[in-house]
Symmetry: C2
Subunit: 242 residues, 2 copies
């Protein structure tokens, strides 16, 4: 089961000026691909901090995804930080310069644009669709821009690289209160220790009070666990199962 | 300048089933209060992991806020983890039991509810409005539920405890492309090294291409920096200033 971590780089998120939609997007995508996302971290645009977090994540997880901090301005330090993380020099990539020049009809990149061609030595470049800027990959670290439209387009173009065994999911909507079913849930987990069971109280829903999610990579196991749960709950306590 | 970190505890966020709206909410609130939020971390409901992250955050920052993992079910381990982080025992709080009994008109709490009265020894309890469950504070760690409506209600009731010097903010909407103004921004920062300057490209906006944010705790400094920026940009390159 591949594991993954997402590193969101951006003062604008921490200062509440921009809501991070990239990590929720990646969480949904990775789940669908059967990848186990185990850490989402948001930090400021600070080179030493980014470098040490990237290094730690790269060692601990199969895939690392970064969002933000690549661009031509003063606060775009992600590529420098990732070079530092892996002790590689930053070099002007001829291949990046070519792509950029081609994208603007042969006009050579200006000084600010050239900054965007500076990437860690021996990065792997993966072209994605009609965007001139490729996905830059260093070791197991996949570097994405912070702009949601671009991140999504880029991720879509390489998502099949990450596919593992899928999770199967059932949802049970319960009309009882969580503390009235907590005992049944504990018993269920005693019998199905491998089940991933989530219990989410809702206070603004009309038809149910708790959403239960049951998950497993083993579909038959999931079906047995779901049937066992339904036996443990009073039948009028279940709004629907899906 | 007080610093803060937010720890979001919840498999449901990492698996993409629920979008975390609590950390964006806290980011906006803390900014308005003049608190410097420097880290947002989302991790699974795992007791040892929560304990070590809480411990590290508590040492590094002035205020820590946790979201999620308090409730009666199997996956609610936040309070146990925080007790472990500070090497305190978990005890049944008479004061919590009283509140719970009062909230349900004198009916004694059931077994699952009693679990919710188990908190780290010597926690500080802060009552908030009409909710029976108080905010539990251990050292500098403020423990909030994951349900957004409850988290917000609780935070509102104690927010003035965190107020520091406010940040002042100006926004400049620029019609040029980011790489055409990157040089001017770097020069501006040379003259105003204390300025917090953000540059956010937008690809779906009709009237501008880059949003610049200028911030400082010193209003006069901010005004001088904003004037200096506007001098550096061509006047037809600015859509509006606010």
């Amino acid at each position: 089961m591949p594991s993954a971590a997402v590193l969101v780089i951006g003062n604008e998120i921490l200062s509440g000026k921009v809501v991070d939609t990239n990590s929720p997007y990646l969480a949904r995508e990775l789940r669908e691909l059967g990848v186990d996302l185990v850490r989402i971290l948001t930090i400021p645009d600070e080179i030493d901090l980014i470098a040490s977090e990237v290094r730690a994540m790269s060692e601990a997880y199969d895939f690392v995804f970064t969002s933000g901090g690549i661009g031509p301005t003063h606060d775009d330090v992600t590529l420098d930080a990732i070079a530092q993380a892996f002790d590689r020099p930053i070099v002007e990539s001829a291949s990046m310069m070519e792509r950029m020049e081609r994208a603007q009809g042969g006009k050579p990149p200006n000084e600010s644009q050239r900054k965007m061609a500076l990437i860690p030595r021996d990065s792997v470049l993966i072209d994605s669709g009609d965007l001139w800027f490729p996905v830059v990959v260093v070791e197991n670290v996949h570097i994405f821009p912070g702009i949601p439209e671009l991140l999504q387009k880029k991720f879509q173009s390489i998502r099949e690289r990450f596919r593992g065994d899928p999770f199967h999911l059932r949802r049970v909507y319960v009309t009882l209160r969580e503390h009235d079913i907590a005992h049944s849930l504990n018993d269920l987990l005693g019998d199905f220790p491998e089940l991933m069971l989530g219990s989410y109280p809702r206070i603004a829903e009309e038809h149910y009070r708790v959403l239960l999610t049951l998950e497993s990579r083993d579909d038959a196991y999931l079906e047995r666990a779901t049937a066992s749960l339904l036996e443990r709950l009073p039948s009028d306590g279940v709004h629907k199962v899906e």
